[in-house]
Amino acid sequence: MAEHMPRIVCFCCEKHGIDAAVLAARSGKQYDASVRIVTVPCSGRVDGIHLLQALDDGADAVFVVGCLEKNCYYDTGSIEGRKRVNYVKSMLSEAGIEKERVEMFNTASTNAWAFPEAVSKMVEVVRRLGPIGKGGEQQ
């Protein structure tokens, strides 16, 4: 079976999240190209609807990157982001879908390793679990 190309979306906050991703890139860190970033002003903007819709639209996994919870630019935004992710995880679990496919990561803008680490964790999840439609092609 040809190896499945992971399709992963990252909802990245415009403050510490994207700065961490940029710092990683500018420090020369390389990471898997299967991750595509959608920037949002704050990880608290992310709605469970976006996460689930991403999975429905073809993503094998989705992750959210926000500021560290005690250092969120918008005070409580990444706390909210984590709550959204956790709720989606519980819905997926109930539906018999692996909850590892949705994840939340927190980072400081100064951490050049955080983003590539998040990417490799999610790529590993997809490699292990495969695409959602096990039959291969979407219906």
Binding site: V22, A24, V40, Q53
Partner: protein
């Protein structure tokens, strides 16, 4: 949907073409409907091709642009300024950071990088079509008043700093003490309530016996801590214990201090939460050194859990020890106690030696500045968060060490948590300067990418009101939620949480995010 899109591809000198097929990107751009202009430049920052870019904007009546380059903070502002002059609204420019998201991190995977770059271009084009021009509004500040609550160390420093910027300072001091500071000084005064927002507050204050209205452009909270009493069993046994600052003042006024003197680091040594604050060490050391120098024969004991003097104040620890001050360390198991039947004797277990010590004392002082009970009124009035200990909570540290989540409201000194005098003064200076700068702008800017409620969809569930850290949502006269635009920070937390999807965040609507995501994923289905 009518749009005229211009696509600008920046080569970032040679970085982009080294990895990506620029011709392919140009092709995709030009073949996308409503793209009227495609320009590839060597380096936007260079500004060389700017006039050509703008010429096409005018000729082809471009109303929006997709720019593939790097991060906004790194691109020369020249392009955006030129776009603005040419009439393109700042919110109609979609900047895609191809450099940091595709070129730099995927150097070894040309095919994947190309696919990703193409997907990002297509997603940006899909998104830019959905964007709408947004206008930021300006509101004049009705006053240049910086109202400073509290005329202690922090408050006075704040008044000085704010006055330097040209702002008009008004100090509200709750006690009747004499205050010398620039601006208007109102003693026996407190804040009771507040309406409005940063730039245009209407405060309700108590000045003496009267309740008055006071306009303010900014508020600095320097309400400090209050005196306190000993807590717990120690309090019952020793009624004459004094707060450290009182002892300090007493020494300064030249009073005879009855020795031996014991200084304890907290008012509640046996308490469940042994929170000893930084203030305790610096001030304790300073006080005991002063006393020992004035009357070397007085026995002085410092009873503490940890000695953590700030920076160079560590030297004070050395000085005090050399002067003959005795330091006794304890932990919770051997916390200082006084037997009510034997007042005047403090027993404590020396942590280092393990010995139980009994110390006769003439004066017992304890380091403490707990939260000012007025802080609750102030926090309620200005709708800002409090700490668990009753102080005023700072906003996100990234907004500055003296800011609250409310624009125009600053907090400094022990109102946050107990601080040594110098630190309180430094913070006061910072808060005063920031408040003054804010006020002297003369107006506030707001709007743009902010949240907006569609009343018909609102269930008035109060979720947004409770979630927003900035107090922007409120239930309006129609019994539906509304967003106070002047307070909205554009984070979108309320949008993500609204159970009826009644709130949208301009520039990051659900549809815009969903479409961008869909196209990024390859858009099948």
């Amino acid at each position: 949907m009518k749009a005229a899109i211009q696509v600008v591809l920046c080569k970032c000198c040679t970085e982009m073409p080294a990895l990506l097929d620029m011709a392919m990107l140009e092709k995709i751009a030009s073949e996308t409907p409503m793209v009227m202009s495609v320009k590839t430049v060597d380096a936007i920052c260079d500004g060389k091709n700017l006039s050509e870019i703008i010429r096409e904007v005018k000729e082809r009546e471009i109303d929006r642009a997709v720019v593939l380059a790097c991060q906004k903070k790194d691109i020369s502002p020249a392009l955006f300024k030129a776009y603005t002059r040419a009439g393109i609204n700042e919110f109609m420019i979609e900047l895609v950071d191809i450099r940091d998201q595709v070129v730099l991190p995927h150097q070894d995977d040309r095919a994947q990088a190309q696919a990703k770059a193409e997907a990002k271009l297509e997603a940006a084009l899909a998104r830019v079509v959905m964007l709408a021009p947004l206008v930021r509004s300006v509101e004049e500040m009705k006053t240049r008043n910086v109202v400073i609550v509290g005329a202690g160390f922090a408050g006075m420093a704040a008044a000085q700093a704010a006055a330097k910027t040209g702002a008009h300072t008004i100090l509200l001091e709750s006690s009747g003490k004499t205050v010398k500071a620039p601006g208007v000084i109102l003693t026996h005064s407190k804040v009771l309530g507040a309406k409005g927002y940063g730039g245009n507050f209407q405060l309700s204050i108590k000045a003496g016996e009267k309740v008055e209205e006071l306009g303010a452009a900014a508020v600095v909270i320097a309400s400090g801590g209050g005196w306190t009493k000993l807590k717990g069993p120690l309090a019952k046994a020793c009624k004459e214990a004094v707060p450290l600052y009182e002892l300090y003042l007493s020494i300064k006024s030249g009073n005879q201090i009855k020795g031996p003197v014991i200084v304890v680091d907290t008012p509640d040594p046996a308490g469940k939460t042994l929170r000893v604050q930084d203030y305790a060490w610096d001030e304790s050391l300073e006080t005991v050194i002063d006393l020992k120098r004035r009357s070397p024969e007085t026995l002085i004991y410092v009873v503490f859990q940890e000695m953590r003097a700030f920076g160079l104040s560590e030297l004070a620890y050395k000085d005090a020890a050399e002067l003959g001050v005795k330091f006794i360390r304890y932990d919770k198991a051997g916390a200082p106690r006084i037997d009510p039947n034997l007042p005047g004797v403090l027993t404590v277990k020396d942590f280092s030696q393990g010995e139980k010590l009994s110390i006769k004392f003439g004066t017992l002082a304890f380091a403490s500045i707990p939260a000012n009970p007025d802080n609750m009124t102030i926090a309620d009035a200005l709708r800002i968060p409090m700490t668990a200990e009753g102080g005023i909570r700072r906003g996100s540290v990234q907004r500055g060490p003296v800011s609250t989540p409310r624009p125009g409201v600053y907090v400094c000194g022990s109102a946050m948590f107990p601080k040594p005098r110098e630190v309180a003064q430094a913070e006061g200076q910072a808060a005063g300067a920031m408040a003054g700068e804010y006020v002297m702008k003369g107006s506030i800017e707001f709007g743009g990418s902010v949240a907006q409620v569609t009343a018909e969809k609102c269930s008035a569930c109060l979720t947004c009101v409770r979630t927003c850290p900035y107090e922007a949502p409120f239930i309006g006269t129609a019994s539906k939620a509304e967003i106070k635009t002047q307070l909205c920070q554009g984070c979108g937390m309320c949008v993500g949480i609204c159970p009826s999807k009644a709130i949208e965040l301009h520039h990051y609507t659900d549809d815009q995010i969903a479409e961008e995501t869909r196209v990024l994923l390859g858009g099948d289905l």
